[in-house]
């Protein structure tokens, strides 16, 4: 008993690898930035009072853009726009896709057919194009961009959850739960779902990067955030107009890159930590 609890207190091996640490540190830094942007930013992200297109230097670490705004401050404030929305987006698609997929897998028959045919319908379109169509149809705004990404993001959770639930519902302890008189919902909630959360959590973490890319992609295309807002995709887009001033597009681009990388590292780590079997298999193959 004591040996068990002591082992649990130590950080699992997967979390002590370099990539995990790097991913964790970067992600944590961005979260802190998102919370504390007003304290960290040297300038007002919207104020257009600085020299235009000043290159990076001691006064403006990331330079200024064509309207005389400090890019460093805008990148910091951008974290407040992009990161919470991305997280919200992923949480919502896990909830929606997961719930629909769980019902499809558990109840089968017409529920399964209905849900999964809708999922297939979405899958049949290229993700970015469908998201663009939805965003354009709803009208360009950040909220609509989030909705658009949500429309294309839920089916992958539905599919994964459905598969896991179908495997789980045939397990004896789930049957035995039903035979003890648990209703279908109770059985789904108590017996099935806790046993499928691991893989879904991994998928969600890996998906944070994709969702952020898609969301800033929509803004880049002018279907998301509106101009004055310091959204990274929109900033990259405005940087493209002044291509000679490389810093305008590069720094928000780097911000996107680091967040995506960090969450991919975290997702990989989470998978290794939650599923030691595949992690070991991969290691053996690597040898």
């Amino acid at each position: 008993m004591s040996r068990l609890s002591r082992r649990r207190r130590r950080l699992p091996e997967a979390w002590r690898r370099p990539l995990a640490v790097v991913g964790g540190v970067i992600a944590l830094t961005w979260l802190i930035v998102a919370v504390a942007a007003p304290l960290l930013a040297p300038y007002d992200p919207l104020a257009q009072e600085l020299p235009r297109l000043a290159p990076p230097g001691p006064d403006h670490w990331f330079g200024t853009d064509q309207l005389g705004r400090d890019i460093f401050s805008r990148v910091l404030y951008g974290a407040r726009v992009s990161i919470p929305l991305t997280l919200l987006l992923v949480v919502l698609s896990v909830l929606i896709g997961g719930l629909l997929g769980a019902c499809a897998g558990y109840f089968g028959r017409w529920v399964d057919e209905t849900v999964m045919r809708f999922a297939d319908l979405v899958f049949a379109f290229p993700t970015v194009i469908l998201a663009m169509v939805v965003a354009a149809a709803l009208g360009a705004s950040l909220t609509n961009a989030v909705l658009a990404v949500l429309v294309v993001a839920w089916p992958s959770y539905a599919r994964v959850t459905r598969g896991l639930v179908m495997g789980m519902r045939e397990r004896e302890f789930v049957l035995s739960g039903r035979l003890l008189g648990f209703s279908a919902w109770r059985s789904l909630r108590l017996d099935v779902l806790p046993n499928v959360t691991g893989p879904i959590l991994v998928l969600a973490t890996l998906d944070i990067g994709t969702a952020l890319l898609l969301l800033s992609g929509l803004s880049f295309l002018g279907l998301g955030a509106k101009p004055p807002s310091p959204e990274w995709g929109a900033m990259v887009s405005s940087g493209v107009e002044v291509f000679d001033s490389w810093w305008v597009a590069t720094f928000p681009g780097l911000a996107i890159l680091t967040v995506v990388l960090a969450f991919n590292f975290l997702g990989d780590t989470l998978r290794d930590a939650l599923d030691p079997r595949t992690a070991r298999a991969i290691k053996v193959r690597a040898l």
Binding site: F173, L179, L180, S183
Partner: protein
């Protein structure tokens, strides 16, 4: 409470799995159900409680104290499952929830069916673990299934099944996954529970040795039909059906 299965038929996707099964379970009696794998033993157990794979169709009658379980609405059936008729599965490694403590699994459906508060349910769980002879019940309640041996897990599974004092227990190959010495213990436990609590037990097994040790009545199944039924002594000593004889002949070391 007696459970009478009459002319139970199940087919899945056009294939007839059960072709008219008749069985009668009496309180205080262990009814053994023998037969090779694929003969429909497990299906009989599951169909009795209305838990069949998608696409299965059933007909016939499963009578529990005047009510037909086959036509009962699910809401009512959920009140019967676990409370009046409970089931124990073959493999105790998979029939317990891996992520809940033994205490939680024992109390969950007691609280649900009997509307007990936490403390009462816990006290009852403690008592149940004693009844199935799990030592150190207080500590056992806080532990997870994987921390127990196979035989102990099966005892726990039996305790879970008995928690709401059902009148009928369906035990589907309860000793098959256990080694022989542990088997004997679990069988003795089933027998004594049957005698003490007046349970009607349906003991599904392919092992005629197990059968002859505890069963009062024996039915033999083949291809979805009960081909022979009667008191243990008669069926095992003077089998009337050719299939029963071949099953008996297949027992090693018991050739006459």
């Amino acid at each position: 409470m007696t459970l009478t299965i009459s002319n139970l038929q199940v087919s899945i996707g056009g294939a007839k799995i059960l072709r008219g099964v008749d069985l009668a379970l009496q309180p205080g009696k262990v009814h053994g159900l023998a037969g090779e794998s694929g003969s429909g033993k497990t299906m009989t157990g599951l169909a009795t409680l209305g838990l069949l794979p998608h696409g299965a169709t059933t007909s016939g009658r499963v009578d529990l104290a005047g009510r037909d379980l086959l036509t009962m609405p699910v809401r009512e059936l959920n009140q019967v499952r676990g409370k009046e008729v409970a089931m124990v599965f073959q493999d105790p490694a998979t029939s317990l929830h891996p992520m809940l403590t033994v205490g939680r699994q024992l109390t969950e459906h007691m609280r649900h069916h009997l509307r007990l508060d936490k403390a009462t349910a816990r006290a009852k769980a403690f008592e149940l673990l004693g009844k199935v002879r799990i030592p150190g019940a207080e500590a056992a309640l806080k532990r997870y299934p994987h921390q127990f041996s196979g035989g102990m897990r099966q005892r726990i599974a039996i305790a879970v099944a008995l928690a709401c004092s059902p009148k009928v227990l369906i035990a589907d190959e309860p000793t098959t996954a256990l080694d022989v010495t542990v088997q004997a213990g679990v069988l003795r436990l089933l027998r004594s529970l049957c005698d003490d609590l007046g349970l009607a037990v349906l003991l599904v097994t392919h092992d005629l040795g197990v059968m002859s040790a505890v069963a009062d009545e024996v039915s033999v199944m083949k291809d979805g039909l009960v081909v022979e039924t009667g008191p243990r002594e008669r069926v095992l000593r003077t089998p009337s059906h050719a299939y029963t004889r071949s099953l008996l002949d297949a027992l090693p070391g018991e050739t006459a």
